[in-house]
Amino acid sequence: MNALIFSAVSGVIMMFSSFLLNNKNSVRVLAHVLLLATIIANIFELRGISFFHIDTRGMLEFDRFALLFTLVANVCTFAFFLLSSRDLEKIGNHYSDYFSLLFFILAGIVVSSSFKSLLMLFLGIEILSIPLYILTGSDKRNLKSNEASLKYFLMGSFSTGLMLMGIALIYGATGTFQTGITVAEKVPVLLITGMMLLLFSMSFKVSAAPFHFWTPDVYDGAPTVVTSFMATVVKAAGFIAFMRLFAEEFGSIRPEWKLLVGIVAAVTLFIGNITAVFQQSVKRMLAYSSISQAGFMMLAIYSLSNDAKEGLILYAAAYSLATIGIFAVLVRMKDYTFEGFNGFAKQQPFLAGILVVFLLSLAGIPLTAGFLSKFYMLKATIDGGSLALAIFAVLMAAVSVYYYFRLIQSMYFKTGNATISGTTTGFKYTLAALAGITILLGIFPNLLTNWLYF
């Protein structure tokens, strides 16, 4: 509740700051301070101190899983602010509005990760998506950005329609919107149909195959700063909502959907990884890589154990930190293709070294957070009884090494003149801190997962 109210109020404050503060620097500092306050308030709630006592009629439940994910999302957003807030300036004139939209997205993330009622799921997903449609199209003069935003908007509202139909059918079958249904021996047809529609629409939102086709276009067309936020924090939030929905609402009819989710995970892993191999632009490669990482996160929904829960939180943190870091460097590059990175290590040895850490983490090499989060997922899958799916996931992770290492190869073993602009010392140290966290979580994952229990 703390984080929800703080981020919603921060969004409103940022809206007013556009005419109260006429200095871009002060707007930026204000955004950082407000987000820091949100993080602190959230930590207080995680420690059992809630500032607000509001009766939500059992529609929202702020359990440790939701609170911890909110914390991870907020901290990743803070890292995003530190690294990329100056690049937000370059999108357009309405600097403070972008911040206020980002805060509203954070409020949506809190709602969609702590819902107990399907009404709140719907509202949370919508609060999170509608500002994103605007942010995607925020580069108003750029046709690619316009097109991406229209495509995202049409796809997003179409999948919202499917979700609402699913919710309506479930309401017809059970008579309530509260999660945690109990079914008799025979599962009603309406419930199964509703479950399928919800599965489709959530797959749309987290871009799992076969509903991923909008992702590369939208991620490629959106301003790179926005893509960096959209592909990380928002996608992870979608997965938390997905997991919560299927664990709590459909946990009792698990045999009906387990195979289907397994197939979706396998297809997502396959399509994401194989298509990423053929990309020439790093931005587009990262878009496909986000699809393939989504396949790994689907494994958590397939297995639904405690390990899967811990793993999903760790995965969200590892994947978001690494991808935000890579995008922060990518925004400053002149050329987004793989050739644009040729000879990068000669000019910026420090940045290149940090990028290597992030890429290794995404590929899942030991001693990085990415390895342990993949390990948790695979362990949960094997415990869930599907060795074949786990083996397939490992094979696909091996494919992913190819395109991540291709970037390392261009940076270190090819000659060229990669051009990067605007790297301040502060930027480098922040990136180094992110890389430090990535390695630290790779050695002591308990630092994060213990928060789930005490």
């Binding site: 509608i130 449609y133 690619k144 097109e147 495509k151 908007f153 329609g161």
Partner: protein
């Protein structure tokens, strides 16, 4: 009237909406079809709400009222979506002087 009629009617409207989204090429018409899908859901929710009221009113006095509440939330969110969606379409029209989605294939390559 039995509940089946309402289910068939709203499923028909919903499927018309889906077919419209998939086949039409004008952004505004696609958008209208999406609204049609949302309104089919509204109709279904109200019908279910009445159904649950009739069956459960002896046990709970306000049975089924949450379905009608949901309808209001859908209307509010749909209005917000219209505001954002139409402004995106207007922005696109200013740049390309067209609202045809076939025109939008720059991102493919």
């Amino acid at each position: 009237m039995p509940i089946n009629y309402y289910i068939f009617l709203s499923l028909t409207l919903f499927v018309i909406g889906i077919i419209g989204v998939l086949t039409r090429r004008n952004a505004i018409i696609i958008f209208m079809c999406i609204e049609l899908m949302l309104n089919a859901v509204n109709l279904l929710l109200v019908a279910f709400s009445k159904m649950h009221y009739v069956t459960n009113v002896s046990k709970v006095t306000n049975a089924g009222s949450d379905g009608q509440l949901f309808v209001f939330f859908i209307m509010v969110v749909a209005a917000a979506e219209v505001a954002v969606g139409l402004s995106i379409i207007v922005m696109l029209f200013r740049n390309t002087h067209s609202v045809d989605v076939n025109f939008l294939n720059r991102l493919k390559h």
